[in-house]
Protein backbone atom coordinates (compact mmCIF):
# COMPACT_ATOMS: atom_id res chain seq x y z
CA UNK A 1 0.00 0.00 0.00
CA UNK A 2 2.97 2.29 0.38
CA UNK A 3 5.16 1.29 -2.51
CA UNK A 4 4.17 4.19 -4.68
CA UNK A 5 6.08 7.42 -4.70
CA UNK A 6 4.48 10.71 -3.75
CA UNK A 7 2.00 11.55 -6.40
CA UNK A 8 0.96 14.99 -7.40
CA UNK A 9 -2.59 14.33 -6.24
CA UNK A 10 -1.77 13.38 -2.69
CA UNK A 11 0.09 16.63 -2.18
CA UNK A 12 -2.79 18.44 -3.76
CA UNK A 13 -5.15 16.81 -1.28
CA UNK A 14 -3.02 18.17 1.50
CA UNK A 15 -2.22 14.71 2.78
CA UNK A 16 0.94 15.53 4.66
CA UNK A 17 1.24 12.01 6.01
CA UNK A 18 1.89 10.67 2.55
CA UNK A 19 4.88 12.90 1.94
CA UNK A 20 7.31 11.29 4.36
CA UNK A 21 6.46 7.68 3.72
CA UNK A 22 8.95 5.63 5.68
CA UNK A 23 7.98 2.05 5.01
CA UNK A 24 8.01 1.05 8.65
CA UNK A 25 5.61 3.58 10.01
CA UNK A 26 3.37 2.13 12.71
CA UNK A 27 0.35 1.78 10.48
CA UNK A 28 2.23 0.12 7.65
CA UNK A 29 3.66 -2.36 10.11
CA UNK A 30 0.16 -2.94 11.41
CA UNK A 31 -1.17 -3.73 7.95
CA UNK A 32 1.74 -6.07 7.17
CA UNK A 33 1.31 -7.92 10.46
CA UNK A 34 -2.45 -8.13 10.00
CA UNK A 35 -2.23 -9.51 6.50
CA UNK A 36 0.46 -12.04 7.40
CA UNK A 37 -1.57 -13.22 10.37
CA UNK A 38 -4.61 -13.66 8.21
CA UNK A 39 -2.58 -15.55 5.63
CA UNK A 40 -1.12 -17.87 8.25
CA UNK A 41 -4.34 -18.36 10.19
CA UNK A 42 -5.59 -21.45 8.28
CA UNK A 43 -2.39 -23.26 9.30
CA UNK A 44 -4.02 -23.65 12.71
CA UNK A 45 -6.17 -26.28 11.07
CA UNK A 46 -3.03 -28.48 11.04
CA UNK A 47 -2.26 -28.14 14.71
CA UNK A 48 -5.45 -27.54 16.60
CA UNK A 49 -8.90 -28.93 16.31
CA UNK A 50 -11.40 -27.97 13.70
CA UNK A 51 -11.50 -24.24 13.08
CA UNK A 52 -14.00 -24.38 10.24
CA UNK A 53 -16.40 -22.12 12.11
CA UNK A 54 -13.80 -19.39 12.36
CA UNK A 55 -12.74 -19.85 8.76
CA UNK A 56 -16.35 -19.47 7.75
CA UNK A 57 -16.89 -16.34 9.83
CA UNK A 58 -13.68 -14.79 8.56
CA UNK A 59 -14.33 -15.48 4.91
CA UNK A 60 -17.87 -14.19 5.32
CA UNK A 61 -16.45 -11.04 6.87
CA UNK A 62 -13.88 -10.67 4.07
CA UNK A 63 -16.67 -10.89 1.55
CA UNK A 64 -18.65 -8.13 3.19
CA UNK A 65 -15.53 -6.01 3.66
CA UNK A 66 -14.95 -6.27 -0.08
CA UNK A 67 -18.56 -5.45 -0.91
CA UNK A 68 -18.96 -2.61 1.58
CA UNK A 69 -15.69 -1.04 0.45
CA UNK A 70 -16.87 -1.32 -3.14
CA UNK A 71 -20.22 0.21 -2.25
CA UNK A 72 -18.38 3.06 -0.58
CA UNK A 73 -16.75 4.04 -3.89
CA UNK A 74 -20.06 5.17 -5.34
CA UNK A 75 -22.22 5.52 -2.20
CA UNK A 76 -19.60 7.15 -0.01
CA UNK A 77 -17.10 9.00 -2.19
CA UNK A 78 -19.55 10.12 -4.86
CA UNK A 79 -22.57 10.30 -2.53
CA UNK A 80 -24.76 8.25 -4.85
CA UNK A 81 -26.49 5.78 -2.55
CA UNK A 82 -27.13 2.49 -4.33
CA UNK A 83 -29.56 -0.06 -2.98
CA UNK A 84 -28.90 -2.32 -5.92
CA UNK A 85 -25.46 -3.74 -5.38
CA UNK A 86 -26.83 -7.21 -4.79
CA UNK A 87 -27.70 -7.27 -8.48
CA UNK A 88 -23.94 -7.20 -9.12
CA UNK A 89 -23.49 -9.91 -6.51
CA UNK A 90 -26.07 -12.11 -8.22
CA UNK A 91 -24.73 -11.61 -11.72
CA UNK A 92 -21.22 -12.49 -10.58
CA UNK A 93 -22.50 -15.56 -8.77
CA UNK A 94 -24.58 -16.84 -11.64
CA UNK A 95 -21.89 -16.15 -14.23
CA UNK A 96 -19.35 -18.34 -12.48
CA UNK A 97 -21.95 -20.91 -11.49
CA UNK A 98 -23.23 -21.47 -15.01
CA UNK A 99 -19.67 -21.78 -16.34
CA UNK A 100 -19.03 -24.45 -13.74
CA UNK A 101 -22.30 -26.26 -14.33
CA UNK A 102 -22.11 -26.27 -18.13
CA UNK A 103 -18.40 -26.12 -18.93
CA UNK A 104 -16.82 -27.43 -15.74
CA UNK A 105 -14.51 -24.45 -15.26
CA UNK A 106 -13.69 -23.73 -11.64
CA UNK A 107 -15.13 -20.46 -10.25
CA UNK A 108 -11.70 -19.75 -8.81
CA UNK A 109 -10.63 -19.12 -12.40
CA UNK A 110 -13.80 -17.45 -13.57
CA UNK A 111 -14.45 -15.18 -10.59
CA UNK A 112 -12.15 -12.42 -11.90
CA UNK A 113 -13.90 -12.63 -15.26
CA UNK A 114 -17.22 -12.45 -13.43
CA UNK A 115 -15.97 -9.25 -11.85
CA UNK A 116 -15.19 -7.79 -15.26
CA UNK A 117 -18.55 -8.86 -16.66
CA UNK A 118 -20.30 -7.19 -13.75
CA UNK A 119 -18.19 -4.11 -14.30
CA UNK A 120 -19.34 -3.93 -17.91
CA UNK A 121 -22.91 -4.42 -16.77
CA UNK A 122 -22.50 -1.67 -14.19
CA UNK A 123 -21.18 0.63 -16.87
CA UNK A 124 -24.23 0.05 -19.06
CA UNK A 125 -26.72 0.45 -16.21
CA UNK A 126 -24.82 3.50 -15.02
CA UNK A 127 -25.25 5.12 -18.43
CA UNK A 128 -28.99 5.13 -17.77
CA UNK A 129 -29.53 5.35 -14.05
CA UNK A 130 -26.80 7.90 -13.33
CA UNK A 131 -28.65 10.40 -15.44
CA UNK A 132 -30.70 10.90 -12.31
CA UNK A 133 -29.55 11.89 -8.88
CA UNK A 134 -30.74 11.77 -5.31
CA UNK A 135 -33.91 9.79 -4.60
CA UNK A 136 -34.56 8.96 -8.26
CA UNK A 137 -31.17 7.27 -8.52
CA UNK A 138 -31.84 5.15 -5.44
CA UNK A 139 -35.18 4.11 -6.91
CA UNK A 140 -33.56 3.16 -10.19
CA UNK A 141 -31.09 0.90 -8.38
CA UNK A 142 -33.95 -0.85 -6.57
CA UNK A 143 -35.65 -1.30 -9.93
CA UNK A 144 -32.44 -2.80 -11.31
CA UNK A 145 -32.49 -5.48 -8.61
CA UNK A 146 -36.12 -6.37 -9.21
CA UNK A 147 -35.65 -6.47 -12.96
CA UNK A 148 -32.73 -8.87 -12.54
CA UNK A 149 -34.73 -10.93 -10.06
CA UNK A 150 -37.66 -11.38 -12.42
CA UNK A 151 -35.34 -12.27 -15.28
CA UNK A 152 -33.42 -14.82 -13.22
CA UNK A 153 -36.61 -16.28 -11.79
CA UNK A 154 -37.82 -16.98 -15.31
CA UNK A 155 -34.59 -17.94 -17.02
CA UNK A 156 -34.55 -21.72 -17.32
CA UNK A 157 -30.92 -21.94 -18.42
CA UNK A 158 -29.83 -20.97 -14.91
CA UNK A 159 -32.52 -22.95 -13.14
CA UNK A 160 -35.17 -20.25 -12.80
CA UNK A 161 -36.69 -19.73 -9.38
CA UNK A 162 -35.70 -23.28 -8.34
CA UNK A 163 -32.06 -22.38 -8.55
CA UNK A 164 -29.00 -24.22 -9.76
CA UNK A 165 -26.96 -26.81 -7.87
CA UNK A 166 -23.22 -27.03 -8.23
CA UNK A 167 -20.88 -29.97 -7.66
CA UNK A 168 -19.05 -29.92 -4.34
CA UNK A 169 -15.40 -29.02 -4.40
CA UNK A 170 -13.37 -32.25 -4.23
CA UNK A 171 -11.56 -31.74 -0.96
CA UNK A 172 -11.54 -33.30 2.47
CA UNK A 173 -13.95 -31.55 4.86
CA UNK A 174 -10.96 -30.27 6.77
CA UNK A 175 -9.60 -28.33 3.78
CA UNK A 176 -12.76 -27.45 1.96
CA UNK A 177 -13.06 -23.92 3.31
CA UNK A 178 -9.45 -22.95 2.85
CA UNK A 179 -9.43 -22.06 -0.88
CA UNK A 180 -12.50 -19.91 -0.32
CA UNK A 181 -10.82 -18.29 2.65
CA UNK A 182 -7.82 -17.23 0.58
CA UNK A 183 -9.97 -16.23 -2.35
CA UNK A 184 -12.15 -13.95 -0.27
CA UNK A 185 -9.11 -12.57 1.54
CA UNK A 186 -7.53 -11.60 -1.78
CA UNK A 187 -10.77 -10.05 -3.01
CA UNK A 188 -11.14 -8.05 0.20
CA UNK A 189 -7.52 -6.86 -0.01
CA UNK A 190 -8.02 -5.86 -3.61
CA UNK A 191 -11.19 -3.94 -2.86
CA UNK A 192 -9.72 -2.06 0.09
CA UNK A 193 -6.56 -1.30 -1.88
CA UNK A 194 -8.51 0.07 -4.85
CA UNK A 195 -10.71 2.04 -2.48
CA UNK A 196 -7.55 3.51 -0.91
CA UNK A 197 -6.04 4.35 -4.28
CA UNK A 198 -9.22 6.02 -5.47
CA UNK A 199 -9.45 8.02 -2.26
CA UNK A 200 -5.97 9.41 -2.93
CA UNK A 201 -6.32 10.13 -6.60
CA UNK A 202 -7.61 12.93 -8.73
CA UNK A 203 -10.48 10.60 -9.65
CA UNK A 204 -11.41 10.28 -5.97
CA UNK A 205 -11.13 14.00 -5.47
CA UNK A 206 -13.50 14.50 -8.38
CA UNK A 207 -15.97 12.01 -6.90
CA UNK A 208 -15.92 13.80 -3.59
CA UNK A 209 -16.45 17.11 -5.34
CA UNK A 210 -19.51 15.57 -7.00
CA UNK A 211 -20.75 14.48 -3.61
CA UNK A 212 -20.40 18.02 -2.25
CA UNK A 213 -21.91 19.96 -5.11
CA UNK A 214 -22.30 18.41 -8.51
CA UNK A 215 -22.96 21.63 -10.40
CA UNK A 216 -19.91 23.34 -9.01
CA UNK A 217 -17.81 20.26 -9.72
CA UNK A 218 -18.99 20.29 -13.33
CA UNK A 219 -18.16 23.99 -13.64
CA UNK A 220 -14.74 23.38 -12.13
CA UNK A 221 -14.01 20.95 -14.95
CA UNK A 222 -14.70 17.58 -13.34
CA UNK A 223 -16.11 15.23 -16.00
CA UNK A 224 -18.96 14.35 -13.64
CA UNK A 225 -20.91 11.90 -15.81
CA UNK A 226 -17.84 9.90 -16.74
CA UNK A 227 -16.56 9.82 -13.16
CA UNK A 228 -19.87 8.71 -11.72
CA UNK A 229 -20.34 5.95 -14.28
CA UNK A 230 -16.75 4.76 -13.82
CA UNK A 231 -17.14 4.71 -10.04
CA UNK A 232 -20.38 2.75 -10.37
CA UNK A 233 -18.72 0.23 -12.70
CA UNK A 234 -15.57 -0.16 -10.59
CA UNK A 235 -17.69 -0.66 -7.50
CA UNK A 236 -19.21 -3.67 -9.28
CA UNK A 237 -15.86 -5.34 -9.92
CA UNK A 238 -15.16 -6.86 -6.52
CA UNK A 239 -18.82 -7.43 -5.73
CA UNK A 240 -19.03 -9.57 -8.86
CA UNK A 241 -15.89 -11.49 -7.93
CA UNK A 242 -17.18 -12.10 -4.42
CA UNK A 243 -20.47 -13.32 -5.91
CA UNK A 244 -18.63 -15.80 -8.13
CA UNK A 245 -16.88 -17.42 -5.19
CA UNK A 246 -19.84 -17.23 -2.83
CA UNK A 247 -22.09 -19.14 -5.20
CA UNK A 248 -19.54 -21.96 -5.40
CA UNK A 249 -19.14 -21.89 -1.63
CA UNK A 250 -22.87 -22.32 -1.12
CA UNK A 251 -22.98 -24.91 -3.96
CA UNK A 252 -26.55 -23.82 -4.54
CA UNK A 253 -27.77 -20.61 -6.12
CA UNK A 254 -31.25 -19.25 -6.02
CA UNK A 255 -32.34 -15.76 -7.01
CA UNK A 256 -33.82 -15.17 -3.56
CA UNK A 257 -30.48 -15.79 -1.85
CA UNK A 258 -28.62 -13.19 -3.85
CA UNK A 259 -31.34 -10.74 -4.71
CA UNK A 260 -32.69 -10.39 -1.21
CA UNK A 261 -32.99 -6.69 -0.42
CA UNK A 262 -31.40 -7.36 2.98
CA UNK A 263 -28.06 -7.96 1.27
CA UNK A 264 -28.13 -4.46 -0.21
CA UNK A 265 -29.30 -3.03 3.11
CA UNK A 266 -26.35 -4.64 4.86
CA UNK A 267 -23.83 -3.02 2.53
CA UNK A 268 -25.31 0.40 3.16
CA UNK A 269 -25.57 -0.14 6.88
CA UNK A 270 -21.99 -1.40 7.19
CA UNK A 271 -20.61 1.58 5.33
CA UNK A 272 -22.74 4.11 7.21
CA UNK A 273 -22.03 2.43 10.54
CA UNK A 274 -18.29 2.43 10.00
CA UNK A 275 -18.24 5.79 8.29
CA UNK A 276 -18.81 6.30 4.62
CA UNK A 277 -16.46 8.39 2.61
CA UNK A 278 -13.52 6.92 4.55
CA UNK A 279 -11.23 4.06 3.53
CA UNK A 280 -11.44 2.09 6.77
CA UNK A 281 -15.07 2.89 7.60
CA UNK A 282 -16.64 0.06 5.59
CA UNK A 283 -14.04 -2.38 6.95
CA UNK A 284 -14.74 -1.45 10.56
CA UNK A 285 -18.47 -1.35 9.85
CA UNK A 286 -18.48 -4.81 8.27
CA UNK A 287 -16.56 -6.38 11.16
CA UNK A 288 -18.73 -4.79 13.86
CA UNK A 289 -21.98 -5.46 12.06
CA UNK A 290 -21.20 -9.13 11.48
CA UNK A 291 -20.05 -9.55 15.08
CA UNK A 292 -23.25 -7.99 16.43
CA UNK A 293 -25.37 -9.99 14.04
CA UNK A 294 -23.70 -13.23 15.02
CA UNK A 295 -24.21 -12.59 18.72
CA UNK A 296 -27.80 -11.78 18.03
CA UNK A 297 -28.31 -14.97 16.09
CA UNK A 298 -26.64 -17.08 18.75
CA UNK A 299 -28.60 -15.67 21.65
CA UNK A 300 -31.97 -14.81 20.13
CA UNK A 301 -32.15 -16.90 17.02
CA UNK A 302 -35.19 -15.26 15.45
CA UNK A 303 -34.49 -14.13 11.92
CA UNK A 304 -37.45 -11.73 12.08
CA UNK A 305 -36.02 -10.02 15.14
CA UNK A 306 -32.74 -9.89 13.28
CA UNK A 307 -34.38 -7.82 10.58
CA UNK A 308 -35.90 -5.51 13.20
CA UNK A 309 -32.51 -5.10 14.84
CA UNK A 310 -30.88 -4.29 11.49
CA UNK A 311 -33.49 -1.63 10.84
CA UNK A 312 -33.30 -0.14 14.32
CA UNK A 313 -29.52 -0.02 14.25
CA UNK A 314 -29.67 1.74 10.91
CA UNK A 315 -32.16 4.34 12.18
CA UNK A 316 -30.07 5.05 15.28
CA UNK A 317 -26.84 5.39 13.32
CA UNK A 318 -28.46 7.63 10.70
CA UNK A 319 -30.06 9.91 13.27
CA UNK A 320 -27.27 10.15 15.81
CA UNK A 321 -24.00 9.16 14.11
CA UNK A 322 -24.39 10.03 10.45
CA UNK A 323 -20.59 10.21 10.22
CA UNK A 324 -20.20 6.64 11.42
CA UNK A 325 -17.61 5.31 13.82
CA UNK A 326 -14.49 6.28 11.91
CA UNK A 327 -15.90 9.67 10.90
CA UNK A 328 -17.05 10.56 14.40
CA UNK A 329 -13.78 9.49 16.02
CA UNK A 330 -11.85 11.46 13.46
CA UNK A 331 -13.86 14.57 14.17
CA UNK A 332 -13.13 14.16 17.86
CA UNK A 333 -9.45 13.67 17.05
CA UNK A 334 -9.50 10.26 18.71
CA UNK A 335 -9.13 8.05 15.68
CA UNK A 336 -6.28 5.56 16.17
CA UNK A 337 -3.54 6.11 13.59
CA UNK A 338 -3.87 2.60 12.24
CA UNK A 339 -7.42 3.34 11.10
CA UNK A 340 -6.64 6.66 9.50
CA UNK A 341 -5.99 6.03 5.83
CA UNK A 342 -7.74 9.06 4.45
Amino acid sequence: MSGNSISHETVYLGNTGAQKKPLFRAKNVFVIVLISTLFLFPLLQLFTGNINYWLHMLLYTFMYIAMASSWNMIGGYAGYVSLGHNAFFAIGGYFSASLLAYAGISPFLTAPVAGLVVMAFGFLVGLISLRTSGPAFIISTIAMVLLIKISFDNWDFIGGADGISLPLIQLHIKWVKIPFYYGMLLIAMGAVYISFRIRHSKFGLGLRAISQDETKAEVAGVPTSLYKILAFAISGLFVGMAGGLWGYYLTYLRPTIFLNIIVAAKLVLMSVLGGKDTVTGPVVGAIIFIAINECFRTYLGFTELNIVATGLLMVLVLLFFPQGIVGTLKELGKLPQILDWD
Binding site: G79, R131, S133, I142, E214, A265, V268, V272, I307, M314
Partner: protein
Amino acid sequence: MTHLVQVLLLGITLGGMYALMASGLTLVFGVMRIVNIAHASFMMIGAYISYWAFKLYAVDPILSILISMPLMFLLGLVIYKFLFFKITGSPRYGELTVLLTFSLALIIEGILGFFFTNIYRSTNPSYATDSILFGPFYLPEGQVYATLSSMGLIVLLWTFLLTTRTGYAIRATMQNRAAAQVVGVNVELVSMVAFGIGIALAGASGSMIAYLFPFYPAKHWEWIAVLLSLIVLGGMGSLIGALIGAFALAISSAYVSFFVGPTWASVTFFLALFLILLIRPQGILGKKMEG
Protein backbone atom coordinates in the same frame (compact mmCIF):
# COMPACT_ATOMS: atom_id res chain seq x y z
CA MET B 1 -61.09 -7.32 -30.44
CA THR B 2 -63.23 -8.51 -27.54
CA HIS B 3 -60.04 -9.68 -25.86
CA LEU B 4 -58.37 -6.33 -26.26
CA VAL B 5 -61.31 -4.52 -24.66
CA GLN B 6 -61.52 -7.13 -21.93
CA VAL B 7 -57.85 -6.66 -21.05
CA LEU B 8 -58.32 -2.89 -21.08
CA LEU B 9 -61.19 -3.21 -18.60
CA LEU B 10 -59.10 -5.39 -16.30
CA GLY B 11 -56.29 -2.87 -16.51
CA ILE B 12 -58.62 -0.03 -15.56
CA THR B 13 -59.99 -1.87 -12.56
CA LEU B 14 -56.43 -2.37 -11.34
CA GLY B 15 -55.44 1.19 -12.16
CA GLY B 16 -57.85 2.69 -9.66
CA MET B 17 -56.18 0.86 -6.81
CA TYR B 18 -52.71 1.70 -8.01
CA ALA B 19 -53.80 5.31 -8.22
CA LEU B 20 -54.77 5.37 -4.55
CA MET B 21 -51.47 3.82 -3.45
CA ALA B 22 -49.48 6.16 -5.65
CA SER B 23 -51.42 9.21 -4.43
CA GLY B 24 -50.35 8.65 -0.85
CA LEU B 25 -46.74 8.11 -1.86
CA THR B 26 -46.57 11.13 -4.13
CA LEU B 27 -48.31 13.35 -1.55
CA VAL B 28 -45.64 12.52 1.01
CA PHE B 29 -42.91 13.19 -1.53
CA GLY B 30 -44.52 16.39 -2.74
CA VAL B 31 -44.92 17.96 0.68
CA MET B 32 -41.87 16.71 2.52
CA ARG B 33 -39.53 15.45 -0.21
CA ILE B 34 -39.56 12.12 1.59
CA VAL B 35 -39.24 9.11 -0.71
CA ASN B 36 -41.21 6.78 1.47
CA ILE B 37 -39.75 3.33 0.83
CA ALA B 38 -41.85 2.14 3.78
CA HIS B 39 -45.12 3.09 2.06
CA ALA B 40 -45.87 -0.47 1.02
CA SER B 41 -45.01 -1.85 4.44
CA PHE B 42 -47.64 0.50 5.85
CA MET B 43 -49.97 -1.08 3.31
CA MET B 44 -49.06 -4.43 4.81
CA ILE B 45 -50.03 -3.15 8.27
CA GLY B 46 -53.36 -2.06 6.81
CA ALA B 47 -53.75 -5.48 5.23
CA TYR B 48 -53.16 -7.23 8.55
CA ILE B 49 -55.62 -4.94 10.33
CA SER B 50 -58.29 -5.89 7.78
CA TYR B 51 -57.32 -9.51 7.92
CA TRP B 52 -57.80 -9.77 11.66
CA ALA B 53 -60.90 -7.60 11.63
CA PHE B 54 -62.39 -9.99 9.08
CA LYS B 55 -61.16 -13.14 10.74
CA LEU B 56 -62.15 -12.26 14.30
CA TYR B 57 -65.17 -9.99 13.90
CA ALA B 58 -66.19 -10.70 10.29
CA VAL B 59 -65.81 -7.03 9.35
CA ASP B 60 -66.07 -6.50 5.60
CA PRO B 61 -62.60 -5.67 4.18
CA ILE B 62 -63.79 -2.51 2.46
CA LEU B 63 -65.60 -1.31 5.58
CA SER B 64 -62.49 -2.02 7.63
CA ILE B 65 -60.94 0.98 5.86
CA LEU B 66 -62.83 2.96 8.49
CA ILE B 67 -60.71 1.24 11.15
CA SER B 68 -57.38 1.09 9.38
CA MET B 69 -57.32 4.69 8.12
CA PRO B 70 -57.57 6.51 11.47
CA LEU B 71 -55.15 4.08 13.10
CA MET B 72 -52.63 4.53 10.32
CA PHE B 73 -53.08 8.30 10.42
CA LEU B 74 -52.07 8.34 14.08
CA LEU B 75 -49.18 5.99 13.43
CA GLY B 76 -48.04 8.34 10.67
CA LEU B 77 -48.08 11.34 13.00
CA VAL B 78 -46.02 9.51 15.61
CA ILE B 79 -43.49 8.26 13.10
CA TYR B 80 -43.11 11.65 11.51
CA LYS B 81 -42.56 13.24 14.92
CA PHE B 82 -39.89 10.76 15.93
CA LEU B 83 -38.09 10.16 12.69
CA PHE B 84 -38.26 13.16 10.43
CA PHE B 85 -38.52 16.11 12.80
CA LYS B 86 -34.82 15.86 13.56
CA ILE B 87 -33.46 15.74 10.06
CA THR B 88 -35.28 18.65 8.43
CA GLY B 89 -32.58 21.01 7.26
CA SER B 90 -29.89 18.36 7.05
CA PRO B 91 -27.64 18.88 4.01
CA ARG B 92 -28.18 15.31 2.83
CA TYR B 93 -31.90 15.32 3.52
CA GLY B 94 -33.08 13.48 0.39
CA GLU B 95 -30.69 10.60 0.84
CA LEU B 96 -31.36 10.41 4.58
CA THR B 97 -35.11 10.12 4.07
CA VAL B 98 -34.65 7.19 1.72
CA LEU B 99 -32.34 5.40 4.11
CA LEU B 100 -34.55 6.11 7.11
CA THR B 101 -37.74 4.92 5.45
CA PHE B 102 -35.83 1.93 4.15
CA SER B 103 -34.86 1.03 7.71
CA LEU B 104 -38.42 1.67 8.79
CA ALA B 105 -39.61 -0.81 6.17
CA LEU B 106 -37.19 -3.40 7.58
CA ILE B 107 -38.44 -2.79 11.11
CA ILE B 108 -42.10 -3.09 10.11
CA GLU B 109 -41.39 -6.19 8.05
CA GLY B 110 -39.55 -7.81 10.93
CA ILE B 111 -42.25 -6.99 13.48
CA LEU B 112 -45.04 -8.25 11.24
CA GLY B 113 -43.02 -11.37 10.50
CA PHE B 114 -42.42 -11.99 14.18
CA PHE B 115 -46.08 -11.75 15.12
CA PHE B 116 -47.83 -13.14 12.09
CA THR B 117 -45.12 -15.40 10.57
CA ASN B 118 -44.32 -15.49 6.89
CA ILE B 119 -47.23 -17.54 5.59
CA TYR B 120 -49.41 -16.25 2.78
CA ARG B 121 -52.72 -14.83 3.91
CA SER B 122 -55.73 -13.27 2.33
CA THR B 123 -59.19 -12.32 3.45
CA ASN B 124 -61.99 -13.90 1.46
CA PRO B 125 -65.26 -12.03 1.56
CA SER B 126 -68.06 -13.50 -0.56
CA TYR B 127 -67.38 -11.18 -3.48
CA ALA B 128 -63.63 -11.86 -3.71
CA THR B 129 -63.98 -14.49 -6.41
CA ASP B 130 -67.22 -13.44 -8.12
CA SER B 131 -67.46 -11.74 -11.46
CA ILE B 132 -69.84 -9.23 -12.94
CA LEU B 133 -70.87 -10.25 -16.44
CA PHE B 134 -72.18 -7.91 -19.10
CA GLY B 135 -72.38 -8.90 -22.75
CA PRO B 136 -69.17 -10.62 -23.77
CA PHE B 137 -67.19 -9.00 -20.96
CA TYR B 138 -66.64 -9.80 -17.32
CA LEU B 139 -65.22 -7.85 -14.42
CA PRO B 140 -63.95 -9.36 -11.17
CA GLU B 141 -66.39 -8.08 -8.57
CA GLY B 142 -63.87 -7.56 -5.76
CA GLN B 143 -61.57 -5.60 -8.01
CA VAL B 144 -64.42 -3.34 -9.12
CA TYR B 145 -65.39 -2.57 -5.53
CA ALA B 146 -61.78 -1.87 -4.62
CA THR B 147 -61.28 0.44 -7.56
CA LEU B 148 -64.52 2.28 -6.91
CA SER B 149 -63.67 2.80 -3.23
CA SER B 150 -60.18 3.89 -4.22
CA MET B 151 -61.53 6.43 -6.63
CA GLY B 152 -63.96 7.57 -3.92
CA LEU B 153 -61.07 8.15 -1.53
CA ILE B 154 -59.12 10.00 -4.21
CA VAL B 155 -62.10 12.28 -4.82
CA LEU B 156 -62.27 12.91 -1.06
CA LEU B 157 -58.56 13.67 -0.99
CA TRP B 158 -58.89 16.14 -3.86
CA THR B 159 -61.92 17.82 -2.28
CA PHE B 160 -59.95 18.16 0.92
CA LEU B 161 -56.94 19.62 -0.89
CA LEU B 162 -59.00 22.00 -3.02
CA THR B 163 -61.51 23.33 -0.52
CA THR B 164 -60.16 23.31 3.03
CA ARG B 165 -57.65 25.65 4.61
CA THR B 166 -55.32 22.79 5.52
CA GLY B 167 -55.66 21.60 1.94
CA TYR B 168 -54.52 24.98 0.63
CA ALA B 169 -51.61 24.92 3.04
CA ILE B 170 -50.62 21.43 1.87
CA ARG B 171 -50.73 22.44 -1.78
CA ALA B 172 -48.81 25.62 -1.07
CA THR B 173 -46.11 23.62 0.70
CA MET B 174 -45.96 21.21 -2.24
CA GLN B 175 -45.43 24.07 -4.66
CA ASN B 176 -42.82 25.95 -2.71
CA ARG B 177 -41.94 25.13 0.83
CA ALA B 178 -39.92 28.26 1.59
CA ALA B 179 -42.50 30.62 0.12
CA ALA B 180 -45.29 28.87 2.00
CA GLN B 181 -43.39 29.42 5.21
CA VAL B 182 -42.92 33.10 4.37
CA VAL B 183 -46.64 33.66 3.91
CA GLY B 184 -47.33 32.13 7.29
CA VAL B 185 -48.01 28.44 6.67
CA ASN B 186 -46.92 26.30 9.58
CA VAL B 187 -45.00 23.92 7.32
CA GLU B 188 -43.98 21.56 10.10
CA LEU B 189 -47.57 20.99 11.15
CA VAL B 190 -48.69 20.72 7.54
CA SER B 191 -45.95 18.17 6.86
CA MET B 192 -47.00 16.11 9.81
CA VAL B 193 -50.65 16.10 8.74
CA ALA B 194 -49.74 15.32 5.14
CA PHE B 195 -47.53 12.45 6.26
CA GLY B 196 -50.39 11.13 8.35
CA ILE B 197 -52.74 11.34 5.37
CA GLY B 198 -50.23 9.59 3.15
CA ILE B 199 -49.88 6.72 5.62
CA ALA B 200 -53.66 6.56 6.12
CA LEU B 201 -54.09 6.20 2.35
CA ALA B 202 -51.50 3.42 2.43
CA GLY B 203 -53.54 1.74 5.15
CA ALA B 204 -56.69 2.02 3.07
CA SER B 205 -55.03 0.45 0.03
CA GLY B 206 -53.70 -2.25 2.32
CA SER B 207 -57.24 -3.12 3.38
CA MET B 208 -58.17 -3.58 -0.26
CA ILE B 209 -55.22 -5.61 -1.40
CA ALA B 210 -55.85 -7.85 1.61
CA TYR B 211 -58.57 -9.69 -0.29
CA LEU B 212 -57.28 -9.29 -3.83
CA PHE B 213 -53.67 -10.36 -3.55
CA PRO B 214 -52.30 -12.86 -1.04
CA PHE B 215 -49.81 -11.13 1.23
CA TYR B 216 -47.05 -11.83 3.72
CA PRO B 217 -44.75 -9.40 5.56
CA ALA B 218 -41.96 -9.27 2.96
CA LYS B 219 -44.42 -8.79 0.11
CA HIS B 220 -44.07 -5.02 0.41
CA TRP B 221 -40.80 -4.98 -1.57
CA GLU B 222 -42.67 -6.05 -4.68
CA TRP B 223 -45.33 -3.42 -4.11
CA ILE B 224 -43.04 -0.54 -3.38
CA ALA B 225 -41.07 -1.15 -6.55
CA VAL B 226 -44.26 -0.99 -8.56
CA LEU B 227 -45.45 2.14 -6.76
CA LEU B 228 -42.15 3.91 -7.21
CA SER B 229 -42.28 3.21 -10.94
CA LEU B 230 -45.77 4.71 -11.04
CA ILE B 231 -44.79 7.95 -9.40
CA VAL B 232 -41.49 8.28 -11.23
CA LEU B 233 -43.41 7.87 -14.49
CA GLY B 234 -45.99 10.45 -13.50
CA GLY B 235 -43.46 12.83 -12.04
CA MET B 236 -42.64 12.62 -8.36
CA GLY B 237 -44.76 14.92 -6.24
CA SER B 238 -47.42 15.44 -8.87
CA LEU B 239 -50.85 14.11 -7.86
CA ILE B 240 -52.25 14.18 -11.40
CA GLY B 241 -49.03 12.53 -12.55
CA ALA B 242 -49.63 9.73 -10.07
CA LEU B 243 -53.08 9.10 -11.56
CA ILE B 244 -51.73 9.10 -15.11
CA GLY B 245 -48.82 6.85 -14.17
CA ALA B 246 -51.08 4.43 -12.31
CA PHE B 247 -53.56 3.96 -15.13
CA ALA B 248 -50.93 3.93 -17.89
CA LEU B 249 -48.88 1.23 -16.21
CA ALA B 250 -51.81 -0.81 -14.94
CA ILE B 251 -53.23 -0.99 -18.45
CA SER B 252 -49.92 -1.71 -20.15
CA SER B 253 -49.03 -4.40 -17.63
CA ALA B 254 -52.44 -5.98 -18.25
CA TYR B 255 -51.59 -6.15 -21.95
CA VAL B 256 -48.13 -7.52 -21.30
CA SER B 257 -49.66 -10.11 -19.03
CA PHE B 258 -52.10 -11.09 -21.77
CA PHE B 259 -49.70 -11.19 -24.70
CA VAL B 260 -46.39 -12.19 -23.10
CA GLY B 261 -47.36 -13.96 -19.91
CA PRO B 262 -48.35 -13.07 -16.35
CA THR B 263 -44.84 -13.55 -14.93
CA TRP B 264 -43.55 -10.75 -17.12
CA ALA B 265 -46.28 -8.28 -16.20
CA SER B 266 -44.24 -6.69 -13.45
CA VAL B 267 -41.31 -6.25 -15.82
CA THR B 268 -43.43 -3.59 -17.51
CA PHE B 269 -43.08 -1.36 -14.47
CA PHE B 270 -39.32 -1.54 -14.22
CA LEU B 271 -38.75 -1.22 -17.93
CA ALA B 272 -41.03 1.80 -17.97
CA LEU B 273 -39.04 3.19 -15.09
CA PHE B 274 -35.74 2.81 -16.93
CA LEU B 275 -37.21 4.19 -20.14
CA ILE B 276 -38.58 7.25 -18.42
CA LEU B 277 -35.27 7.82 -16.66
CA LEU B 278 -33.59 7.63 -20.02
CA ILE B 279 -35.93 9.95 -21.87
CA ARG B 280 -37.36 12.30 -19.29
CA PRO B 281 -35.87 11.79 -15.81
CA GLN B 282 -38.32 14.17 -14.14
CA GLY B 283 -41.36 12.15 -15.27
CA ILE B 284 -44.35 13.20 -17.32
CA LEU B 285 -45.55 16.04 -15.11
CA GLY B 286 -42.68 16.43 -12.70
CA LYS B 287 -40.43 19.31 -11.96
CA LYS B 288 -36.73 18.66 -11.97
CA MET B 289 -35.65 16.82 -8.87
CA GLU B 290 -32.76 17.62 -6.66
CA GLY B 291 -30.82 15.43 -4.28
